[in-house]
């Protein structure tokens, strides 16, 4: 469970070019939800996700993850949280280019202290899950954008987190590949994972069960949604 209570993120506070990236956010996301956060560019979506993911700290306000106040956690506790509880999927994939697919997926397992045999099993499972098992010894620059994003999903899956945070995961992908990624997220959600999907694209947001609209750092609407199900290619092309 994720809970934000009047969270502010203010850049250059007090100065004339003050930026209120988050302007008093109150938000509660329950276990197993699939939430889309939608908004225009610069509305504060990424900032919000980075705070949820413990990658950034709010200027003020409280943030609870599974009822624990995050501001009370030590550096090591935060690292453990990022390792075990949170999985990130970034728009720019954030793979380490000099490491192979296998080594990239292995990283969170290494930091999680998983023994070698178990690591092997989990790497294979995660890569099979995203359909890239045969690319295990490739390097990121030998893969297409969609494949790289799938590797980054496999990396997020490998440590079996129960909250997945995806910031514009389809931002750099064509619509067909985008649909595959979204389907994968839906599947993961069905297995009980909490999913937070950040997007500027209303169509993509319709894949979620709940759509939160954000503008100038404020939540302007928060609605339930009947998640769009897998469609064929033609429908997708129309949808855009």
């Amino acid at each position: 469970m994720i809970e934000l209570r009047s969270v502010y993120k203010i850049y250059f506070p007090g100065s004339e070019n003050e930026v209120r990236a988050l302007d008093g956010i109150n938000l509660r996301i329950d276990e197993g939800e699939f939430v889309a956060i939608v908004g225009k560019s610069g509305s504060g979506k990424s900032t919000c996700m980075n705070i949820i993911g413990c990658l950034d700290v709010p200027t003020s306000g409280e943030y609870f993850i599974d009822s624990t106040p995050v501001s009370n956690l030590s550096e090591d506790d935060l690292a453990r949280l990022r390792n075990k509880t949170l999985g990130f999927i970034f728009q720019q994939y954030n793979l380490i280019s000099k490491l192979s697919v296998e080594e990239n997926v292995e990283l969170p397992l290494l930091y999680g202290g998983i023994p070698p045999e178990e690591r092997k099993i989990r790497i294979t499972q995660a890569l099979e899950r995203v359909g890239l098992a045969e690319r295990i010894h490739h390097y990121p620059n030998q893969l297409s954008g969609g494949q790289q994003q799938r590797v980054s999903i496999a990396r997020a899956l490998a440590s079996r987190p129960h909250i997945m945070l995806a910031d514009e995961p389809t931002g750099a992908l064509d619509s067909k590949t985008s649909m595959e990624i979204l389907q994968l997220l839906q599947e993961l959600n069905k297995e009980g994972n909490t999913i937070v999907l950040i997007t500027h694209d209303n169509y993509i947001a319709t894949f979620a069960q709940r759509i939160i609209r954000i503008q100038d750092g404020k939540i302007i609407s928060d609605q339930k949604n009947e998640p769009k199900q897998e469609t064929n290619q033609e429908a997708m092309a129309d949808g855009h």
Partner: protein, 393 residues
């Protein structure tokens, strides 16, 4: 995460960034190798000089007489001899020296020109001359003003072509002398070397030329540690005789050795300075590479942190990475430094004395620099909150 994982991460990183690793190592290799080469050469040079001086005897004290000074008195051979008999605990022997510049030495039809040394029976022992054939001068030869001589290996080759010489008669400035011994080769038997020498009793030598007089004395101290006391005694005696310090000069081999050592010491300092600078330059090279590479890798650090790396995981990886690189560079530096030093030694016919402490110092300094400059920037990056590291391009 265990040490094994840190190592595997670090090695992976080294393997995948060969250029950076190589450049880092290069700085260390140059620094370490330069120090080793320079220190080895200096070490070899000074030990060679020391050995040469020691070969001449560190117990040796020489008194050179320059003139008569203010007093019209002069010091006699007997005065000097009495010094030895009065202080047997200090002096072991003395010999006066009468030097006669270019004399002609003739045997049959062959002639050589050489300087003659008029000495007594102790001279050989004081100056470490060994007799190859025959015998050295005796008390009787000196006391009885015998016309006998010893010849160096140069004369032996020139006049006798290395054949029988003992018992033959040579003419020195026209006077007949009996050859009683041949000196062992000290140098290479060439003209002007220390093998180009003729020795005769100083008593006989004095009558050989009109200017022939005792121009110097050599003494040997009982022990190298007594040299200073011997000099004090000598100077007191000489001052009594001349009433001036201008008329004589007392020098000891030890003193000269000291001067030589001082000279090589200064030289060493200069060269060690040069070596230090190359170490510094190497260090700055390492520093630059490390700084650049960490900046380049801040984003990577951000990614690793987003995946759950703790600060100590990042630090462990970077520390082991820079330690491994530096140590590899250090070892290569030591090996190539030693090889280069021996190469230089062979090329310039110099002896080489690599010093373990210099090697250790150069190694630890450069490895420390490597580790430090691998550690500090990584430490800085690891402290960032992940998003700040991730935002770096």
């Amino acid at each position: 995460m265990g040490i094994k994982q840190y190592f595997s991460l670090a090695l992976k990183s080294l393997r995948t960034s060969k250029m950076r690793s190589f450049l880092t190592m290069l700085g260390i290799i140059i620094g370490v190798a330069a120090v080793i080469v320079l220190v080895s050469l200096i070490g070899g040079m000074s030990s060679e000089i020391t050995a040469q001086f020691e070969g001449m005897g560190t117990n040796l004290i020489t008194v050179n007489l320059m003139g008569r000074g203010n007093s019209n008195r002069t010091v006699s051979v007997d005065d000097m001899e009495s010094l030895v008999t009065e202080h047997p605990e200090l002096f072991s022997a003395m010999s006066p020296t009468v030097s006669i510049g270019s004399t002609t030495i003739k045997y049959g039809a062959d002639t050589t020109t050489s300087s003659c040394q008029g000495v007594n029976e102790y001279y050989g022992e004081i100056r470490n001359y060994q007799v190859a054939q025959g015998r050295f001068l005796s008390y009787n030869d000196v006391n009885g003003r015998k016309k006998v001589c010893l010849i160096g290996s140069y004369q032996w080759q020139e006049l006798f072509s290395g054949g029988d010489a003992i018992g033959e008669t040579v003419k020195i400035n026209g006077e007949p002398f009996l050859v009683i011994g041949i000196l062992e080769e000290k140098d290479d038997s060439s003209e002007g070397s220390s093998d180009d020498i003729v020795m005769l009793p100083y008593t006989t030598a004095r009558s050989l030329g009109s200017y022939a007089r005792v121009s110097s004395y050599c003494f040997s101290a009982q022990d190298g540690t007594l040299v200073d006391q011997c000099i004090t005694q000598l100077e007191r005696k000489l001052y009594q005789a001349y009433n001036s310090t201008d008329a004589y000069r007392v020098t000891s081999q030890a003193e000269m050795l000291e001067q030589m050592n001082e000279l090589t010491g200064t030289m060493s300092l200069v060269l060690v300075g040069v070596a230090g600078i190359s170490l510094l330059v190497g260090g700055i090279g390492i520093m630059n590479i490390m700084l650049v590479s960490v900046t380049e890798r801040i984003r990577e650090i951000g990614i690793r942190k987003s995946l759950g790396a703790r600060k100590r995981d990042i630090m462990g990886q970077f520390l082991i990475e820079s330690a491994t690189t530096s140590a590899c560079g250090g070892v290569i530096g030591i090996l190539s430094g030693i090889a280069l030093a021996y190469g230089c030694g062979a090329l310039f016919h110099m002896s080489i004395a690599p010093s373990a402490s210099a090697i250790l110092l150069a190694f630890s300094v450069s490895v420390l620099i490597g580790i430090l400059f691998g550690y500090l920037p990584a430490n800085k990056a690891a402290k960032l909150i992940p998003i700040e590291a991730l935002r770096q391009q």
